[in-house]
Symmetry: C2
Subunit: 468 residues, 2 copies
């Protein structure tokens, strides 16, 4: 008899978990409180999604779970090789992400979710069953080796009880699995909201076909577009149909004061994002800004992530919600699945040991990326316009290209090097930062000695010498 | 029409809140999920209480709410003027708490709770109604100025809905009010368990009457007894009947390893607390250690504490659970009530303003005491046996006596000076610590110059001089 598992939450991480466990011969039931999102004619737009950027960790985890599945669900992704900074005067400035042309990839959350649900059907209902309209209300944990009882509220109004060998909670920031786990486990837990509200906006496809981009795009689709304005910013990521999903981020106080009148919103948008308003359509933008849901951003940290005896575990946002500014939320969640499956394989299916090891080994990476994501808000909205930041970034890139694997910019390690765990990436970056600080002092000293022109001459020669 | 308020939780803070609000002409309904604890013939012993020490902040808050109530409920308290340290060799060492004989006071949690419930009945059911057996399951917040709907599960099995102008949550560490508030408010929240388990033990009344103590006490009732053993400790507080409520504190790993056999527990208790075992009875102690519930200790911090528009607020452990090592949990909770009532009075009943001001003004004090309580575990279990600690403590006391209000030991400020807010007490203490550090260096220098005997001679003369 195969062991049974209840996976809670049919979002991205929940679907991938279900696929991975089904491949390991568990009998999987995947529960979600929503109805099947594919039943609706058009893609469900809840008007508060932030487009996803899938990068190395996400892709390698998908491929680890199943290479063919990865191939199918990643077909529509749009590579983005850098940020495009939109200055207030309309000038655009490209800042590449990688050292050697690496890209992160824009992908629509809803589309990816639907494709993963399709993959579950392909596996077959003897191995995976998906039950929509099941809202988890309680988990009664038995002793290790006993069954765990999950209680669901359903449309019929009666509580339904499912007994299962173990539970995997992938039910997001407001996870009921996590709440229920806290009744069984002494869990450290913290949630912190950052003072930032987000509002989804929309750039429609252009009327004109653009041969450069092979599509009706009004902006370069191979960039993540940012309009950084220090205290607030706008971003935009391309969709396959030529449209862009755009998101405004700003402090709650500002948003609340703007929302007092349509005129204020209009004035604010035109003043700060004139070029974006042109392609968005100012009337549509104002309407969306006023009426779309206002999203909150929070950081969640837990410890441990599992119930002893292999009875339950939480993955993804349920365990480590992070703000979206490093583009790592889903990538990290997918990596959770890979890490857990590797441990299950290593311990030969001994869940008790594998889950305990997961908490022990994964914790430092999860807290590291949650902190890093928080820090990156300042970089995206503010630092990208600073001369010193750009100089350091150039130096960092130049050292990376010159020294190859001996010098790795932090962004490269986080986004393009799935082989380097988050906490190691940060440790390496700290060491490199000390060196960069030192070089910066040297440069300042050299400039004051040689004058700026003299310094440029010398550094040009050094650069030439290093190429030879 | 008077405004209605639902107070959730009929524990100590909930009862005091209900009394205070009833006196301000709100129509109060106090809900608790338990049945009336006074209905049971003997006092309900849940076997996991830690005896309370009420000190200046608790007493002054009770008196602020109602002087007569304070007089009646505090009748049975037993003053404790210091700690009694029990060394392993059986020696006892008294360390006084105050500079001028001030005491904290032992009081039984259940007795105090019953007396406060009696006071609510005395006020009359036209002003306060108490509904036991009502377990809060949901709060639906209306717009400001609308009603808030509280949904309760009752014994009858059907959800009961109560509409009220506002809600005050005094429902403890696992507060449902707080959970529900988090659906309405972006609340920072953290919970952290410390690696410490507690087990309630019991010292029965002595068979012999002790004239010194005017009762059948086997230990001095005017002290808080501590058996500090570094990684773990035992404490005991007197009850009016001659018995002591005792509590063991130790790391979870140790407790779990001891619990593997009765023999281990017996050996551990005899080896570490021989004198305590004599008066407890070793068989009874082993049985209690094995069978009594194992309590966890946690710290909770929140921000904010209220829902805007004066719709709801949380007080006491629901807002700031702390570990019991500074004896401030209930004192701080009672002070919450006093602070809130003063603000309601100052804003002339404008709840929206008063609740917002409460969060703004109270937060720094609550985070300060939560941290301080955590730090004090080390002092109680370990530092109290250190020579340097005791020397500094003596110096601190001596400066306090000499300089009066210009030098206040931290313990004095926290426990005996309700007029100094927690965060100010800590700020003052930090300044004094710098001076103590400096004096410590001077003393060490003096001893190495004069030799220890020479130093004692000089310091004796200085002391005499300061008395003249």
């Amino acid at each position: 008899m195969p062991e049974t598992v209840a996976v809670i939450g049919a979002g991205l991480v929940g679907c991938l978990t279900a696929i991975a466990l089904a491949k390991r011969d568990y009998k999987v039931t995947l529960f979600d409180y929503r109805l099947d999102p594919r039943d609706q004619k058009t893609i469900d737009r809840n008007l508060r999604s932030i487009n996803l950027a899938i990068s190395s960790r996400g892709i390698s985890s998908l491929e680890f779970v199943d290479k063919e599945v990865a191939g199918r669900v990643l077909k529509g992704i749009i590579p983005m090789k850098g940020r495009m900074i939109h200055h207030l005067n309309g000038a655009q400035e490209s800042q590449t992400y990688g050292l050697f042309g690496e890209s992160i990839n824009s992908i629509d959350r809803a589309v990816l979710n639907h494709l993963l649900l399709d993959e579950l059907e392909r596996i077959g209902s003897d191995k995976v069953q998906v039950k929509f309209g099941h809202k988890l209300s309680k988990i009664k944990y038995g002793k290790p080796d006993e069954f765990q009882s999950c209680v669901f509220a359903t449309e019929e109004g009666v509580d339904q009880v499912y007994a299962t060998n173990f539970v995997v909670g992938c039910d997001g920031s407001y996870s009921t699995t996590r709440d229920q786990m806290q009744r069984e486990v002494r869990m450290h837990f913290s949630q912190e909201y950052i003072d930032c509200c987000y509002i989804e906006l929309y750039i429609p496809p252009s009327k004109n076909y653009d041969a450069r981009y092979k599509g009706n795009f009004s902006l370069a689709p191979d960039h993540l577009h940012i309009w950084p304005r220090h205290q607030y910013m706008l971003i935009a990521l391309a969709n396959a149909d030529g449209s862009f999903t755009s998101t405004f981020f700003g402090p709650w106080g500002l948003v609340e004061s703007l929302l007092k009148s349509e005129a204020r919103v209009r004035e604010f948008l035109i003043k700060n994002f004139p070029d974006a308003m042109e392609i968005m359509g100012i009337n549509q933008a104002v309407k969306s800004f006023m009426s779309h849901p206002k999203g909150a951003l929070m950081c969640i940290e837990c410890d441990p992530y599992n119930v002893s005896g292999g009875r339950g575990i939480i993955l993804g946002d349920a365990a480590h919600s992070m703000v979206p500014f490093y583009g790592q939320g889903m990538n990290c969640g997918f990596e959770d699945v890979k890490v857990l499956m590797k441990l299950l394989d290593a311990y030969d299916g001994d869940r008790a040991k594998a889950f305990d090891a997961y908490t022990r080994e994964r914790h430092q990476d999860l807290t590291a990326i949650v902190k890093l994501a928080k820090r990156n808000y300042k970089e995206m909205s503010h630092d990208v316009t600073s001369k010193v930041f750009l100089l350091r970034k150039k130096l960092d890139h130049w050292l990376g290209k010159l020294l190859k694997d001996k010098w790795l910019p932090l962004y490269t390690m986080v986004s393009f090097r799935a082989d380097i765990p988050y906490h190691k990436a940060i440790a390496i970056s700290k060491r490199q930062k000390t060196i960069l600080d030192f070089i910066q002092v040297l440069i300042i000293a050299a400039i004051s000695l040689l004058g700026y022109e003299g310094f440029k001459r010398v550094s040009r020669r050094l650069k030439q010498a290093s190429r030879q």
